[in-house]
């Protein structure tokens, strides 16, 4: 029975993605992409990865969809630059052959299960019980630190390129009661996701994305106009994440002699402290990536 559901889901994902990439109208393709993103989040649940499903729905479909909608309104209409049919046919053949070879290669791969044993045997000493959070913030914390540096690099790039800050448009009187319920709900759920991340699916990235959603409702609803003071505070908060994580890594090295090795017994507090700082800074970074960091007057 579940096989039929899997088949239907994958067919849905493939054809939504094909429609998204084939469509002429910009807003239609962006909406198609958000639908495909939500279906993909469902497929992560089917593949037994709830943490990733949360992140995919919040960041992959939600925030990326908002970014795409903002840009689709500002870009010029699609130029007729699709290449001639003969060229397209050859490329389609090559792409199909590549996809077939890829599917065959992944299917016949022996799939040696090396990591599950390593993770389960070390999970007890990692300070958290959720294996994904343990991998993200203890076993491979270095990957996560560099990932926050990626967000930081994107922020500097957006600051230099400085696209126009989206001005909030009057959305009518219903927005205020909606925001009054949704924004506290987002803050509450973000805190809940952050706290439960240590044991059940959740964590800093999903909580940060939820918080960013709440901030965007405030920003676009016109309740928090992007004044220079607010934006500079947001920029400071965004920079805090990478600074806190790097200093914590170096601090751990001072205490225990190895980079990112938390003093034994206190791993849980280190992880939750870093995750709290990351949640706030990721929320600020994602919000600023959407609103564009205005160049503060340098005088």
């Amino acid at each position: 029975m579940s096989l039929a559901f899997d088949i239907l889901l994958t067919i849905g994902i493939f054809f939504t993605a094909a429609a998204t990439l084939g469509m002429r109208d910009r807003v239609g393709s962006v909406v198609g992409f958000v639908v495909a993103g939500l279906l993909v989040a469902l497929s992560w649940v089917r593949l037994g990865a709830p943490d990733v499903a949360l992140a995919e729905a919040a960041i992959g479909a939600g925030l990326t969809g908002a970014l795409l909608l903002r840009s689709s309104g500002r870009l010029k209409p699609v130029e007729r630059l699709i290449s001639p049919p003969s060229h397209r046919f050859i490329v389609a053949l090559i792409a199909a052959a590549f996809a077939g070879a890829l599917a065959w290669a992944v299917y016949t791969a022996s799939g040696a299960a090396l990591y599950p044993a390593l993770v389960s045997e070390r999970l007890a000493s990692s300070g958290v019980t959720n294996p994904v959070t343990a991998v993200l913030l203890n076993f491979r914390a270095w990957d996560t630190l560099l990932e926050i540096a990626v967000l930081f690099a994107a922020l500097i790039l957006v600051r230099i390129v400085a696209p126009a800050v989206p001005q909030p448009v009057a959305l009518g009187e219903l927005m205020l009661p909606f925001a009054r319920i949704i924004v506290p709900m987002c803050a509450f759920l973000a805190g809940h996701l952050l706290w439960q991340g240590a044991s059940v699916p959740g964590g800093a990235f999903q909580a940060g994305a939820m918080l960013a959603g709440g901030l965007l409702v405030l920003m676009l609803g016109g309740f928090a106009a992007p004044t220079p003071r607010l934006m500079s505070w947001g920029a400071m908060l965004a920079l805090v994440g990478l600074a806190v994580f790097s200093l914590a890594a170096l601090g751990a090295e001072v205490l225990t002699g190895t980079l990112l090795l938390y003093p034994d017994g206190t791993a849980k507090f280190w992880i939750l402290g870093i995750e709290a700082a990351l949640t706030l800074s990721i929320a600020a970074m994602l919000c600023l990536l959407f609103c564009g960091v205005p160049r503060r007057p340098l005088k």
């Binding site: 493939f14 910009r26 593949l47 990733v52 840009s71 993770v119 696209p163 959407f290």
Partner: protein
Amino acid sequence: MTSDLIYICAGSGLVGLALYRLSTCRDMLLRVLSLNVLAVGVAMLFLASARHAGITDAVPQAFVLTGIVVLVAVTAALLALAERVDGQDDE
């Protein structure tokens, strides 16, 4: 095992679809969309091959989570650039 095959085929299909569209169109927004679809395809291949005897291995989940966050950062940068390039004419 067969449900993994379905997701493996879907993942590689998405990769093929994205590569086809990436190499046949010049429009900026469609290129950003196809790069996102390519990343989703790669993530699907990662997670489909991460299922060993019923449980999903935690390390590829961390890889895909990191990939999603990296992807939203690069997409935001790409869209900021695209807006400036397209908006440059009428300024």
